[in-house]
């Protein structure tokens, strides 16, 4: 496996896993934000 290929697989992992982790953290935050909106509406 060449260095180019190893580097590419690392970027695949960063992009794929990294974006999913960020999205999970985003979902955690957004729950709180949506709760706030619903409270204000009531």
């Amino acid at each position: 496996m060449s260095n180019w290929e190893i580097f590419t697989w690392i970027t695949v992992v960063i992009l794929g896993l990294g974006s999913v982790v960020v999205f999970i953290l985003f979902l955690k935050d957004i729950k709180e934000i949506l709760k706030k909106f619903n409270k204000e509406e009531k």
Binding site: T8, I10, T11, V12, L15, G18, S19, V22, F26, K28
Partner: protein, 486 residues
């Protein structure tokens, strides 16, 4: 190329309906203008990462990077994409902190504080022109044609219209939320696309064997001047109004800094995979899997259609649409804010209520969309328009903002006004002159004009306009005998 299966169309349909739903959900939930325009200054690090990345990665990056990767190889990443990460770091550690020190809402707010109302209005006009969604709408025309087989104008109206609807109704909350969905969609699908592309061409080793060694030369055969120009386009991040908007919308400076530092790894990975997929497309052409006449800017889409199975292709296409929608919505919102908050309120109605401002912002969003649409269907060469729009911001507001930010004694009203005004005026005049009197070189993909025996390309305009803005600034500093503003 529209060779999609039914499942692909269903996925794209669900995605588009989801985007509109988010906008409609937020339609009546805004309490004030700050909530509508800056999401109540409550964006956390994950939200900032998703909205920053998806906003900056529009179709120009998707196809610009891939075009260069297809024709030149890894230099697309090392020469074109990599320098921009240095500017992100500068923004994270040197700029964002200063911008959070005051209660700014927009880029012209900064100019107003440093130099007064006149410079604010020049900045607002510059920001409005820069934010017109002409390129995004043109991109939707192309995507509608390539993906769905629609006439370009139909793609612009339907796909661009969907982004318009949720931005108009939902404001920045809808933009940030849809950006987040779009972010994960475009990143995951791109990561998944790599193994499929390798399977299509016979693995990474086949790519190394088939492509010329120059494809793996980190600086390729690009001239140093072109590399400097490419690198300097990254400067725009330092004065980009949508970037500023996200800094102002963050909960704190730390959120911005962390988002940018983490974001650089994701940005870098995204750019690299785009480059490699484009190189895989070149291999597919050499191997005969793709036709010889595939246009370089369509190579990425072509290789994905050939490599991805049904369902995955629909997700990829939704990801491509996401890439563009997240850019269009953000810029339209900023343009709307320029009209309402930066011009209408200070110039015509200082006592405007929040509800009036939200209403006027919505009108501004609509106006920017319509003007962008007219430009998208009027210009033959969108690349010329892209260069014009990229240079206008750097040439006009970069000097007064950065100098005013770091040297408070330079905050003289005449300095700001001359710098921004001359930068804006010279950029408009020179671009129009070259686009009307120059020749569009199809090979170089730019306008060229003969000046003093040299081929002057449109991209070089910034070498003239930025010094003009700088000279105007110091002329103003010298001749304005008053105290610094504030």
């Amino acid at each position: 190329m529209h060779e999609l299966a039914t499942i692909d169309y269903i996925i794209i349909g669900i995605y588009l309906a989801g985007m509109v739903s988010v906008g409609l959900w937020f339609a009546k939930k805004h309490t004030d203008f700050e909530d509508f325009f800056l999401a109540g200054r409550s964006l956390t690090t994950p939200l900032l990462i998703t909205t920053l990345i998806s906003t900056y990665y529009g179709i120009d990056v998707l196809f610009g990077d891939s075009q260069l990767g297809f024709t030149n190889g890894v230099v697309a990443w090392f020469g074109y994409a990599r320098p921009t990460y240095a500017f992100f770091l500068i923004a994270a550690f040197l700029l964002a902190h200063r911008l959070r020190e005051d209660d700014f809402k927009s880029l012209p707010d900064i100019l107003d504080k440093y130099y007064g109302k006149k410079t604010r209005y020049v900045g607002a006009v510059t920001s409005f022109i820069y934010s017109l969604p002409a390129l995004s709408l043109y991109g939707f025309g192309m995507l509608g044609d390539v993906i769905l087989g629609w006439e370009p104008i139909v793609g612009m109206l339907i796909l661009g219209g969907i982004a318009l609807v949720y931005t108009l109704t939902g404001g920045f909350w809808a933009v940030a939320l849809t950006d987040s969905i779009q972010f994960v969609l475009m990143c995951v699908i791109l990561a998944l696309a790599f193994p499929y592309a390798m399977k299509l061409i016979g693995g990474f080793d086949a790519m190394i064997e088939v492509l010329e060694p120059s494809y793996f030369d980190t600086m390729g055969d690009m001239s140093i001047w072109l590399i400097i120009i490419y690198a300097s386009t990254g400067l725009s991040i330092l004065v980009d109004p949508t970037f500023y908007q996200r800094i102002f919308a963050a909960k704190s400076y730390k959120n911005v800094r962390n988002a940018l530092v983490i974001g650089i790894f994701i940005w870098g990975s995204y750019d690299w995979i785009i480059t490699i997929l484009a190189m895989a497309a070149k291999v597919a052409v050499i191997q005969g899997t793709l036709p010889m006449d595939v246009p370089p800017d369509a190579a990425l889409l072509k290789v994905m259609v050939a490599a991805l199975p049904a369902g995955a292709l629909g997700l990829f296409m939704a990801g491509v649409l996401s890439t563009e929608m997240s850019t269009l919505d953000s810029y339209c919102l900023v343009a709307g804010g320029n009209v309402a908050y930066d011009i209408y309120k200070p110039a015509f109605k200082p006592e405007a209520t929040d509800q009036e401002l939200i209403k006027t912002t919505r009108q501004g969003i609509l106006l920017s969309w319509v003007l962008g649409f007219i430009m998208a269907i009027s210009f033959d060469q969108m690349l010329g328009l892209w260069v014009f729009m990229a240079s206008i911001l750097i040439s006009s507001v970069m000097v007064p903002i950065l100098l005013g930010m770091y040297v408070p004694k330079f905050r003289k009203p005449l300095a700001g006004f001359l710098s921004a005004g001359l930068g804006l005026g010279s950029t408009v005049i020179l671009n129009i002159y070259i686009m009307t009197n120059g020749v569009f070189d199809v090979e170089e993909e730019t306008y060229i004009i003969q000046w003093f025996g040299i081929d002057f390309i449109q991209e070089f305009i910034m070498y003239i306009t930025v010094p003009i803005s700088l000279i105007g600034f110091f002329v103003g500093v010298i001749f304005d005998k008053g105290d610094p503003h504030e």
